[in-house]
């Protein structure tokens, strides 16, 4: 439903604004050009994306995700003090975070939802502090290799699509920290 409104507002806004600024013809030409560009973009980014999904699959099958999640468990216990003693929840949470780090979105979501369901059993209907923290951590992207974005850059003609990695890591770290701190702060204020 949300997408229907976004689409309609974008197209309607473009037409109104185009008429108001006397660029009606340009808008109409751009519509056809944009549709073609969508397919070109998919083709152009497919190579990079496929290569990295392949590398990530090797990481997953070689047990890198499992090792990572054992490493993360002590840290994560501090983020979810209410559930630190519950093995099932902490297993799901640390597997969720390590899948996110490796960019395995398809694997991360079911694991995160499993953790969310278990957390919700204690306080049905209302988001507990731990559940809010889980959601905040999953709305902040923490992947180590943003393959889709690298594919986009390669599609736009970039020779070194991965040179943004240090900036992405630093930015992710700052935004996750901000989300976690905000969640901690709000949990004291929100009664």
């Amino acid at each position: 439903m949300a997408m229907a409104w976004i689409w309609t507002v974008m197209v309607g806004g473009a037409i109104l604004c185009g008429l108001a600024t006397g660029r009606g013809e340009a808008v109409s030409a751009a519509a056809l050009e944009g549709a073609g560009a969508g397919i070109e973009l998919c083709l152009a980014m497919a190579g990079t994306l496929c290569l990295w999904m392949g590398i990530m699959e090797v990481m997953r099958r070689s047990g890198l995700a499992g090792g990572l999640s054992r490493l993360l468990r002590p840290v994560l216990g501090r983020l979810y003090p209410d559930f630190a003693g519950e093995r099932g929840v902490m297993d799901a949470v640390s597997a969720n975070v390590s899948a996110n780090l490796l960019g395995l979105g398809n694997a991360a979501t079911p694991l995160g939802l499993e953790a969310a369901r278990r957390m919700a059993e204690r306080s049905p209907g209302e988001a507990s502090d731990s559940l809010c923290m889980l959601v905040v951590c999953n709305t902040a992207s923490i992947q180590l290799i943003p393959a889709t974005v690298a594919g986009l850059r390669a599609a736009a003609g970039c020779q070194t699509p991965f040179d943004i990695l240090p900036a992405v890591w630093l930015t992710s770290a700052l935004s996750v920290t901000a989300g976690v701190l905000a969640a901690r702060l709000f949990s004291r204020l929100w009664r």
């Binding site: 969508g38 998919c42 393959a147 930015t171």
Partner: protein, 174 residues
């Protein structure tokens, strides 16, 4: 330094492959299975990208994005965000494929190695589709009172947008 950075990707490919071989993984099977999944991702996002890029190109041609950028320019420039990225800031928390479309258009229009192109890439790479994620998690867990989850998640997004603009200038020299 240049050489070291350019060897990160091939080095990672080789070390992951050697590690996989050492662990007895069916390396070729895993590589191709992952690549297959990559193709499926492309196919899955293609329809949405076609529709959204159409709308984005129309918005760009109509001058609406410039208008919005000009309107908010004082605020965005004051905090260090390139005003050209305004469209991306607006759609990022709401729709992942729309954000990909807007980001791709920015990279093509300004060049992937421009300040705007790089900032857009870092913003895309370090934030998530917040509202979608919140909706999926809370509906799966049967939560109706979400308390402070959305404002806290949006704080993370805001800092992500700001930090993307700063880190690109700081680490990549503009």
């Amino acid at each position: 330094m240049e050489l070291a950075m350019s060897m990160v990707v091939p080095g990672l490919m080789l070390s992951v492959s050697l590690w996989g071989l050492a662990r007895g993984v069916d390396l070729w099977g895993a590589l191709t299975a992952g690549a297959q999944e990559g193709l499926q991702v492309c196919l899955r996002i293609a329809p949405a990208l076609v529709c959204l890029l159409t709308a984005v190109y129309m918005l760009r041609a109509s001058g609406a994005l410039e208008l919005l950028g000009n309107l908010l320019e004082p605020v965005l420039t004051a905090v260090g965000i390139p005003p050209e990225t305004i469209g991306l800031l607006l759609v990022r928390p709401v729709s992942g494929s729309a954000a990909l479309g807007v980001g791709a258009e920015l990279m093509q229009a300004y060049g992937p190695d421009s300040l705007v192109g790089r900032t857009a890439a870092v913003m895309l790479g370090s934030t998530e589709t917040t509202f979608y994620t919140v909706a999926v998690y809370f509906s799966a867990a049967g939560i109706t009172r979400t308390r402070y989850a959305i404002p806290a998640a949006l704080c993370g997004d805001l800092v992500g947008f700001l930090a993307a603009s700063w880190t690109v200038r700081l680490l990549m020299g503009g």
